[in-house]
Structure formats: structure tokens, C-alpha cells
Amino acid sequence: MAVKVIIPTPLRAYAGKQESVEVQAGTVAEALTALTGKFGDLKKHLFSDDGRLRSFVNVYVNDEDIRYLQKDQTKLREGDTISIVPSIAGGATN
């Protein structure tokens, strides 16, 4: 299944400065594996040392949070969009 992964601004530096990356995957886990296979530097930003998705990074399939679907086993359909949405804090002075 060809799906699009949208890379958020703070992580683009680790993904060849691309806004989105197309990968072939049947599940969210496969999509993220394919993504970090292409861009190794992304791995530590998405996963903790024990291989779990970091708690300040949320992953959406289309507009739904995978925590409320089947987590990383969420099945993908052709043309789905995966969004990686990390927390950002900027606002006032810096």
C-alpha cells in the first residue's frame, strides 16, 4: 500500500528536509519502519530505546489518533495519510 507520511517541521532536518515521504506499508508499524529505514536519524526522535513510540510524538492515520485505533498495528489503506505530530512549545520569547 502506498501511503504518505507527513513530516512535521521540527523533524524535517532528520528526513532529508522533506515535507512528506511516500512509503509502502500495510500497517502503521511497517510505515514507520520503512520511514526510519530511509532516514536513520529519525529513529531516536520517534522511538525510545526500548522501541516504543515516544510519548511526546503522536501518530495519526488520516485524522484519527492511532492510540484510539489499533495503535501501531492499525491497518492502512491505499492513499492513507500518516501524520507525525510532536509536541512543540514555542510561543513567546524564544
Partner: protein, 396 residues
């Protein structure tokens, strides 16, 4: 002392919660639209909104809330206006540089609308004072710039049952939503934990397009006004993502997490905690996360260079920073150091520097671990060089 027949009795009406003649004129474009009208305008007049931060987000927010006639606006900030703020913090002018933000902001808002009350809190919002400051307001708007304060504002709003109009920005991307609305999710539902300090984008990768906080802060203002007048669909349970480069808005579903530690069914947080500890930082301006790094001061470096010592200057900033100013060093951005380490000669004495000394401390530690013995970190970076050695070097 005769009162004209039919003319509004301004002071009496004002006391009864009505609008004065001046206010009717000022707010006429609200009054003639049915979604606001007199009823909505009076709600605005009675409303009390607390703005945390008067920076990039707080500036448009404060301006629009004051202009719209929100009757009482609280401002919390501890900072002083500096030149780098003016690129986006449109509350302030050049003549405000050096003034406390809170004073400059209050002056500007009072000038914009003398009919409203401005409360100022020149302080760091903390676990000790947050509940006391927040309790008098109906709505809290989060325009801060760091994770500890964001979790503090969230938890305080949940504990007090107040909506939290949230906006955050990075470079050219923004996130906006309303947390803490009855039955709706909170910030911890979205992000249970903050990123560890080492993984947040460094100052090199930071920066913000000046207009971005203007757009995001204005959306926060719109949501605040809607909550007050009770019209429209509030941005509850929806995370709005804005990308100024692509000029795209996207919306994601935001659910209340039943296991949320602060607003879930089995909540474990029932009072405010130590947020610096929770976020793994002891204040935002911790000079360096790396310890026991050999350092050289700008003055020492200058005198050694003047003596003609053979020193190799390694600049670990980004190329666009090098264009702003440089010490004619060899440029290897910190993120590329591991694969470009062969460009360095470990037999030479090396002085690494960045903007403030933080990234170069990491570089020095990395290189020491890689076997480099004769390496120093320039204390305070190119900023300190500008302060102590050569003031013609611009600071950024």
C-alpha cells in the same frame, strides 16, 4: 442638571452592566451583527481572560481581546522587551526596548481601549502562584514558550475547571486547540509527557516566521471570543495544524484520554507538581547540559590568537548562522560532526564555538570521547566574543 429626554443615563446604565454611549459607538460593528449584538457585547464586557505570556502569541491576542471589549484582561510575563522581539511581538515598539513587557503591554492595551481593566502580574507563573493568579478568570490563554509552563497551565486549568485556549508555534508551523473545556480533552490527553531536553530542537534549528504567531495568536483570540459569547463551534476535541509555508490548515481529532493522569477517570494528579523536574530541566536558560568541559574565555582566546598561537577554530553552528557573523572558523554543524570528524586534526589545538556555548560544549564532549585531547569550548560562544572582545560582531 437636566437630563435630555431619551438620552441614555450613562453612569447609571454603566453600573447596571449596560454600555455607555462611548462604548456603543466603539463596539458598533459588533452590536450590529446578530451573532454578537448587545447580549454578546455585554458578555464580553463581563468576561475575565488571563493571557499567560505577552510575546509572539500574546501580542495579537491581547490586542484583539482589548479591542473587542473583554472587560478584564490579566497579563502574566516577567520579561523585558528586547530588539529581537520586535520582529513579531507587535504589542511593542522600538521605544519600548528595555521596558518590562508587562508595563509596555498594559500601556498599549489601555491606549487601545481605556474602557477595560488590565491586571498585570510581573512574575514567573509557578506551582506556588498559578492557582491564585488563575482563579479569578473565566478563560486562560496559553501563549508561553516552554514545556514546564505549558504543563503547569494545563494542570492548573484542569484543577480549576477553566478552559485553556492553547497555541504553540515552531518556525512556520502552529498547533491550536481548546483544552479543559467541560468533557473535552486536556494537554496531557494529547501529550502525556514532554520531550526530554536533549531531543527538543536546538536554538540552531529554532526561529520563527514573524507573522506565524500573529496568525496563531489571532486564532486563539477568535476562539476566546467565541467561548465568551457562546457562539459557533469551539475548537474542542480538534487539533488545528497550520503550515504557513504550504499555507495549509489541517484538523486532527483530539480525544479525552480515559487514563489521563490529571483529567481521566482515575486521576492521580490532584495538585500542582514541580514542572521543571517533570520536564527534566532546571530552568530554560541552563547554560549547558554537559559538565566538566574544558573552556577558554573570549579574552584568553583573543590573546592567544594575538600571540600567533596555532589554534584551529571550529564553528559548530548552521551555515545560515555563519552568514550572520563568524570568527572565520571551520564550519561543521553539530549534527554533521560525527560523520565529518575526519576533517579535524587531533594533533592541533582546537577551540569549538557556537552562538552561546551550548552546542559547542556538546561538540567538545563528543570529540573528547572520540580521542581529541587538545580541545576547548569557547565560553559564552560568539555572543560573549561580541560582548568581551569585538563589539562589531552582531549578536542574534
Amino acid at each position: 442638571m437636566a437630563t435630555k429626554i431619551g438620552a441614555p443615563m450613562t453612569p447609571a446604565q454603566d453600573k447596571s452592566g449596560g454600555l455607555s454611549k462611548e462604548e456603543v459607538l466603539r463596539y458598533s460593528r459588533h452590536l450590529i451583527m446578530p451573532e454578537v449584538g448587545m447580549e454578546g457585547q455585554l458578555k464580553l464586557k463581563k468576561a475575565k481572560v488571563l493571557c499567560i505570556g505577552t510575546g509572539g502569541l500574546g501580542a495579537p491576542l491581547g490586542l484583539y481581546l482589548a479591542a473587542a471589549g473583554v472587560g478584564r484582561i490579566g497579563l502574566v510575563d516577567f520579561d523585558v522587551v528586547d530588539f529581537t522581539n520586535l520582529q513579531r511581538q507587535v504589542l511593542f515598539g522600538t521605544s519600548d526596548v528595555g521596558r518590562p513587557k508587562i508595563t509596555a503591554a498594559a500601556d498599549r492595551l489601555r491606549n487601545l481601549n481605556p474602557e477595560i481593566q488590565i491586571d498585570t502580574f510581573e512574575t514567573h507563573l509557578s506551582s506556588e502562584n498559578a492557582l491564585d493568579i488563575l482563579k479569578d478568570y473565566d478563560i486562560v490563554v496559553d501563549g508561553t514558550d516552554n514545556f514546564p509552563t505549558r504543563y503547569l497551565v494545563n494542570d492548573a486549568c484542569v484543577l480549576l475547571g477553566k478552559p485553556n485556549v492553547y497555541g504553540s508555534i515552531f518556525r512556520f508551523e502552529g498547533q491550536i486547540t481548546v483544552f479543559g473545556y467541560p468533557g473535552g480533552p486536556c494537554y496531557r490527553c494529547l501529550y502525556p509527557e514532554p520531550p526530554p531536553p536533549g531531543l527538543v530542537p536546538s536554538c540552531a534549528e529554532g526561529g520563527v516566521l514573524g507573522v506565524l504567531p500573529g496568525i496563531v495568536g489571532t486564532i486563539q483570540a477568535a476562539e476566546t471570543l467565541k467561548l465568551i459569547i457562546g457562539k459557533g463551534e469551539p475548537l474542542v476535541g480538534r487539533l488545528l495544524l497550520f503550515d504557513a509555508l504550504g499555507m495549509k490548515f489541517r484538523e486532527l481529532k483530539l480525544r479525552k484520554n480515559p487514563d489521563c493522569p490529571v483529567c481521566g477517570e482515575h486521576r492521580i494528579l490532584t495538585k500542582l507538581i514541580d514542572y521543571a523536574e517533570f520536564c527534566g530541566v532546571r530552568g530554560e536558560e541552563a547554560p549547558t547540559t554537559v559538565t566538566n568541559i574544558p573552556e577558554i574565555t573570549p579574552r584568553e582566546l583573543k590573546s592567544r590568537l594575538d600571540r600567533g598561537d596555532d589554534l584551529f577554530i571550529l564553528d559548530v553552528r548552521e551555515p545560515h548562522e555563519y552568514q550572520i557573523c563568524n570568527l572565520q572558523g571551520h564550519l561543521i554543524p553539530l549534527g554533521e560532526l560525527s560523520r565529518r570528524v575526519h576533517e579535524l586534526d587531533s594533533s592541533r589545538e582546537i577551540v569549538a564555538h557556537c552562538r552561546s556555548g551550548k552546542r559547542s560544549a556538546e561538540a567538545v564532549q563528543f570529540l573528547r570521547n572520540a580521542g581529541f585531547k587538545k580541545i576547548w569550548n569557547l565560553k559564552g560562544g560568539i555572543l560573549a566574543w561580541s560582548d568581551e572582545v569585538d563589539s562589531s560582531v552582531p549578536k542574534y
